[in-house]
């Protein structure tokens, strides 16, 4: 264990190279003073400047982030409640039915979610734009949160709750001091996954966004269809940097929190 022979190493390296190639390719050309992505002329930061001067683009980035954070927050709340409801359900077949219903939106193709939500919003009279996009993102993130939280609940020993009740805890205490702390990792995982799904979503947003509102994915789609601008490259460079910092920070904090107990290694 712990050591890899050379063949797996080469294989893994290859996978990593391919996974990162497009990202680094974009970033590399973001410093290109030439207009395109075919040959590199000279180093420049003008495209990065352009990103910060393009207020329209910045607003779109803000929209994307706000939608992601709000939808992750709200879907996590509703999803945790849903997971608790499923967990406390006594009737087994009803629970199975709810779970299957829950999974429908996870496996549904984005186009179907988008198209059906478009019909739905038009019928109910929700104006297409910020509200419709936010609602859609919440809707497709909820089942993911449920899926992340439910296993945590199921692996929690019921005697933990019984013990708390025996010791005189109220139902509220049980919830806030026993159950929620126990399932916290699941809640965080659900939140981050919801965030990721929202940031990455294109198809659903494409259907339910009106004319005045746009997220990054939709914007890049229309930009990519009309032609190449290196502003997109600069933007992707910035996004990549932020992602890396966040992820590594998250990893380091996570590791630091764990290492004192000496469980790892």
């Amino acid at each position: 264990m712990g050591k890899l022979s050379s063949l797996p190493k080469i294989y893994l390296t290859l996978v990593f190279v391919i996974l990162y190639a497009p990202i680094f390719y974009l970033i590399y050309y973001s410093f290109n003073s030439g207009g395109g992505m075919s040959h590199f002329e000279s180093f420049t930061l003008e495209h990065y400047q352009a990103v910060f001067q393009d207020t329209r683009l910045l607003i779109i980035v803000m929209n994307t982030v706000i939608i992601a954070l709000l939808s992750a927050l709200l879907s996590t709340t509703i999803g945790v409640i849903g997971a608790l409801a499923i967990y406390f359900m006594k009737n087994k077949s009803a629970r199975q039915t709810i779970l299957s219903l829950n999974n429908i939106l996870i496996v549904s193709p984005d186009v179907i979610i988008g198209a059906s939500f478009l019909i739905l919003f038009t019928l109910i009279g929700v104006k297409l734009g910020f509200a419709s996009v936010l609602i859609s993102h919440i809707a497709f993130s909820i089942p993911i949160v449920v899926i992340m939280v439910l296993p945590k609940l199921q692996e929690m020993s019921t005697s933990l709750i019984d013990a708390a009740l025996d010791l005189g805890a109220t139902r509220k205490d049980v919830m806030t001091r026993v159950i929620l702390p126990y399932i916290k990792p699941g809640i965080f995982a659900g939140f981050f996954l919801a965030l990721t799904y929202s940031l990455d979503d294109f198809a659903v947003t494409f259907f339910v966004t009106g004319n005045g509102f746009s997220t990054l994915s939709v914007e890049i789609y229309s930009m990519a269809r009309t032609g190449i601008t290196l502003t997109i490259n600069a933007l992707s460079g910035l996004i990549f940097l932020i992602t890396i910092v966040l992820v590594l920070g998250y990893y380091i904090i996570g590791n630091k929190a764990k290492s004192p107990q000496g469980v790892r290694k």
């Binding site: 996978v15 193709p109 186009v111 179907i112 809707a139 930009m223």
Partner: protein, 269 residues
Amino acid sequence: MKNKKPLRFVYAAPYAAWLLLFVLAPIAVIVYYSFFDLSGHLTLANYRNFFSSVYFKLTMSSFWYAFLITFFSLLISYPTAYFLTKTRHKQLWLLLIIIPSWINLLLKTYAFIGLMGQYGPINALLETIGIGGQQILFTDFSFVFVSVYIFIPFMILPIFNSLDKINPALLDASKDLGANAWVTFKRVVWPMTIDGVKSGVQVVFIPALSLFMITRLIAGNKVITLGTAIEQQFLVTQNWGMGSTIAVFLIIFMFLIMVLTSGKERGHR
């Protein structure tokens, strides 16, 4: 115990409302709209149309591409996940596999337009090797390649999780009992990870049936999937009825695949 029930109903309300409004209602409206034509008349014409040769061919090719994409994703992901579980800082490496999936899907697709383009680095490489420049973009190959690229992290994750759960003692036991590496894999590792593979297949196959922006940007409208057709009907032709009909079939296929890929789950619950 008795007074638990009403309370439970109250706090489950938002979740229940969500189930009704965003899971059941959307399916209902899709089915409902599939029976209407462009001018709002009740009709079965959409269904007749769907079984015409054009849409049948479309469905078949959509399935074929989805199969190819799933197959290659699995082929690449399984060894990757397996080797990852053997690395020392496996959680960190897994994280590094996941990071590209955090970068916006459209950005990566956009990058491939440059990478695979006439003057892109791949063609430049082919020139120097001596194969000569090729038309890579706007072909079936580019479509499958980029799709596989997009789906790999989603395939690796469930497989990694199921591999990671395997108790190493089982592998030692298998070795002690005289099984070679292949037999151990076939009889111990694979059966224990089949659920991970199934959920991986699930998260790849169904979306692959319905890709539409990759078909537009990378395949140059040469590949038409069910997803492309639905998008076309809804947003370009504005024929919601026909779009809904195609969607109804996509939903049916989705349920079939769900049933197929979750058959065993009841066993160990």
